[in-house]
């Protein structure tokens, strides 16, 4: 039944496709059929023309019985969101209009809400709006202007509505954390799997064994470098002039002139890396006037498009220079609070690791001795527990201190 019905829609829309845009009726609440007839759109027509058999598939999928046009659009939006995320590009409003809604742009709200629900219920994911560059500029200016009239700014933003989103895991934090931890059984099974597949230069030597294989999508080393850059920018008051960033990176052994070697053994220059981060939305490159002239109306530059990020030598062009800020994706995906946590982790982890090595050495020494003594064991255990607790408490305080300092260095309240 269903396939036939949808085929009919296909034909109807084919014959009417041209020049029907004008009269596309998009009121809500139609029955599925009527709606589909009035509102099917070109990309779909293409699909119908190309793959008439495809319809039978739909039927088999059990999508059949009376699937309304709205449900179809919702399903399409869900898939679009998943696929764009796979490519690491944001989901754009324009793409939603073009590929999902077409003539039904007015049903955006309903379709979007429906897709959000499915993403949340089925996948445990949520769509997070990316802030426009304009909004973030205002944020910076706002801080300068002592945070007055925030209400006005907010109003403006909601009026326009976000233009793009990314997909983010919204399972409870402890689950996400655990899902990023290694499990030996998973690692073992994964390595068995890898043995069956063709060699992939992008594949690391050992399976990570995490529930979520996030490593497969990214070069872990480059990701680490990205976190370092984001951290530097954050603690520099949320923006950093280009030469300063480069000099910091140089101290870490990342030179503008020496290419970075990726996991897949490709060489990329720092410039190429920075512009790829810009393209992905992790960083923004802002054109500024020379420090002496102040930062009136910083114009966002669409870096990566057209112009390439330059080498350190020619960054300054007359009285123009560049500074780096967080891109919209960094805000939505990484978050300032988590970055502060990352900074604190790096500081504390190293200390902890040193401590652990010392502890384990001690334990090894004590092991044989302990076996001999039966009595003193309880005392010892209690003492150890106390020590551990004291250590934890100290760590917690240390962590808080670092977080506070990061916040101060960033220049105010960290966003989630």
């Amino acid at each position: 039944m269903a396939p036939r019905a949808s085929q009919r829609f296909g034909q109807a829309s084919q014959s009417q496709a041209n020049g029907r845009r004008t009269q596309a009726a998009t009121q809500k609440g139609y029955g599925g059929r009527r709606r589909a007839r009035e509102a099917t759109e070109e990309p779909e027509d293409e699909q119908e023309q190309q793959d008439p058999e495809e319809d039978d598939e739909d039927g088999e999928e059990g999508q059949g019985e009376g699937v309304s046009a709205e449900d179809k659009m919702i399903a399409d939006l869900v898939r679009l969101a998943l696929f764009t995320e796979y490519k690491h590009t944001p989901l754009r409003r324009d793409d939603i209009n073009k590929k999902v809604l077409v003539n039904n742009t007015r049903s955006f709200r309903t379709v979007f809400a429906g897709a959000e629900k499915i993403l949340k219920d089925t996948f445990g994911m949520e769509l997070v709006p990316l802030q426009t560059a304009g909004h973030r500029d205002r944020l910076v200016l706002e801080e300068v202007a002592d945070g007055e009239d925030t209400g006005v700014v907010k109003k403006k933003i909601t009026a326009a509505g976000p233009r793009s989103w990314i997909l983010r895991n919204c399972l409870p934090e402890p689950i996400i954390r655990a899902a990023a931890e290694r499990d030996p059984l998973v690692a073992e099974a994964e390595e068995d799997d890898w043995a069956l597949l063709s060699d992939d230069p992008l594949r690391p030597e050992h399976a990570p064994g995490t529930a979520l294989a996030w490593q497969s999508a990214d070069d872990v080393g480059l990701q680490g470098l990205m976190f370092v850059i984001l951290s530097l920018v954050l603690v520099n008051g949320r923006s950093m002039p280009d030469p300063q960033l480069r000099s910091y990176l140089k101290k870490l052994g990342v030179h503008s002139t020496i290419p970075i070697v990726t996991a897949s053994n490709k060489n990329i220059t720092l410039d190429a890396f920075l512009s790829s981060l810009t393209k992905l939305g992790y960083l923004d490159r802002i054109r500024t006037h020379l420090p002496g002239l102040g930062t009136q109306a910083p114009a966002t530059q669409a870096a990566g498009r057209g112009r390439r990020a330059r080498g350190s030598d020619d960054v300054e062009e007359g009285d123009i220079s560049y500074e780096w800020r967080w891109g919209p994706r960094a805000e939505a995906e990484v978050g300032e609070k988590r970055t502060a946590g990352f900074i604190a982790d790096v500081y504390l982890k190293r200390r902890e690791e040193v401590q652990e090595i010392e502890d384990s050495e001690e334990e090894e020494e004590e092991q044989p001795a302990r076996k001999g003594r039966g009595r003193g064991k309880n005392d010892e255990v209690a003492e150890r527990r106390r020590e551990k607790q004291a250590k934890k408490e100290k760590e917690r305080k240390e962590m808080e201190r670092i977080l506070k300092e990061v916040e101060r260095a960033a220049g105010g309240n960290l966003s989630a």
């Binding site: 779909e44 190309q50 793959d51 999928e61 445990g124 499990d183 099974a189 063709s198 060699d199």
Partner: protein, 327 residues
């Protein structure tokens, strides 16, 4: 049925983050998801069986146009699974990691593999690289080679020891619908498990249509069967079944022109000569025709316009047509 919970969500996420994996690994991931959620919620893990959970996740994906597919690998015999896009629409085009030109190339490779003579379902590396000259926007030899390598390393193609490319299990799963609709005459189905066969055996009697995966054949023989399961009833003890897949062509042929199935070799020899040339001519033609269309936005595995395909196929698969007429 258990309530759809964070266990299912995490399990699904871990499947999506891998896209293509063995059932065995999937089962481990399910165990892990149960463990993680139980620990996070501080509850005793109430576990439903793996298959039931997988089914439940699959049911949730269905309405979105996604499907969990399983398929036994023809080489390793391991059962693999993937989350597959069941619709070949514009949205699916977004899902690929390759550039439009690379996708167009992949499509050409899939075509030569499917149309390969002698049911070899494979193409020599030389022929595969040569195929890149049919692309609307040219690739150098080196580019073609590295693109092919990427297809292999990303799991879309398999390169055998002797250097022939064939479709991977991942491709067979993800392109199943496409292959079955686009290559209706070429796709062979296993007489036992009904899945597509690209590496296996064929019944030696000329008109019999029985085809089997290697692993299905082994199981079948192990069960003590000696004759073809179809009406033909040929004894497989007297004559060995003919290979399907790259074993159907000799290594010598990798370098030279394509040849026919062994027992038909003589009658087909003349035609084999004919085969190479007209095909190239028609491909050159196509190249010109395809240019505008492909430069616009070639979908991942976009079908060629009908007449182009027919023109090519009339040359490439005359052999199969002949066979069909005989039947």
């Amino acid at each position: 049925m258990a309530r759809y919970s964070d266990v299912h969500r995490l399990f699904l996420q871990s499947l999506i983050s891998r896209r293509f994996l063995s059932i065995k690994l999937a089962e481990k991931l399910y165990d892990r998801a149960c463990e993680i959620v139980a620990a996070a919620e501080g509850t005793e893990p109430s576990r439903q069986p793996f298959e039931a959970a997988l089914g439940q996740v699959g049911d949730a994906l269905g309405p979105i146009g996604l499907e969990i597919r399983k398929l036994q690998d023809e080489g390793t015999k391991v059962i693999m699974m993937a989350i597959v896009n069941t619709k070949g629409d514009a949205i699916a085009q977004v899902a690929t990691e390759f550039s439009p030109n690379e996708i167009a190339y992949f499509k050409l490779i899939v075509e030569v593999i499917m149309l390969a003579p002698s049911e070899s379902f494979s193409v020599s590396s030389i022929a595969a690289i040569k195929e890149s000259t049919n692309l609307p926007s040219k690739m150098t030899k080196t580019e073609a080679e590295s693109t092919l390598n990427a297809f292999v390393s990303r799991g879309w193609l398999i390169k055998s020891q002797r250097g022939r490319y064939s479709l991977s299990t991942r491709s067979l799963m993800e392109l199943q619908t496409y292959l079955k609709t686009e290559f209706v005459d070429e796709v062979l189905e296993c007489s036992l498990c009904m899945e597509i066969v690209t590496k296996g055996i064929a019944c030696p009697s000329a008109r019999c249509k029985t085809r089997m995966h290697k692993h299905c054949y082994e199981t079948y023989r192990a069960q003590g069967h000696k004759v073809c399961p179809s009406d033909c009833g040929a004894s497989w003890n007297d004559i060995q079944p003919i290979p399907v897949g790259e074993d159907a062509v000799t290594e010598r042929q990798d370098r030279g022109r394509a040849r026919r199935r062994v027992e038909q070799e003589e009658t087909m020899e003349a035609e084999a000569e004919e085969y190479d040339e007209p095909m190239e001519a028609s491909q050159e033609l196509e190249e010109e025709e395809e240019e505008p269309e492909a430069s616009a936005s070639p979908p991942p595995v976009q079908r060629k316009s009908r007449q182009q395909k027919v023109s090519q196929r009339s040359n490439a698969s005359r052999y199969y047509d002949d066979e069909a007429e005989e039947d």
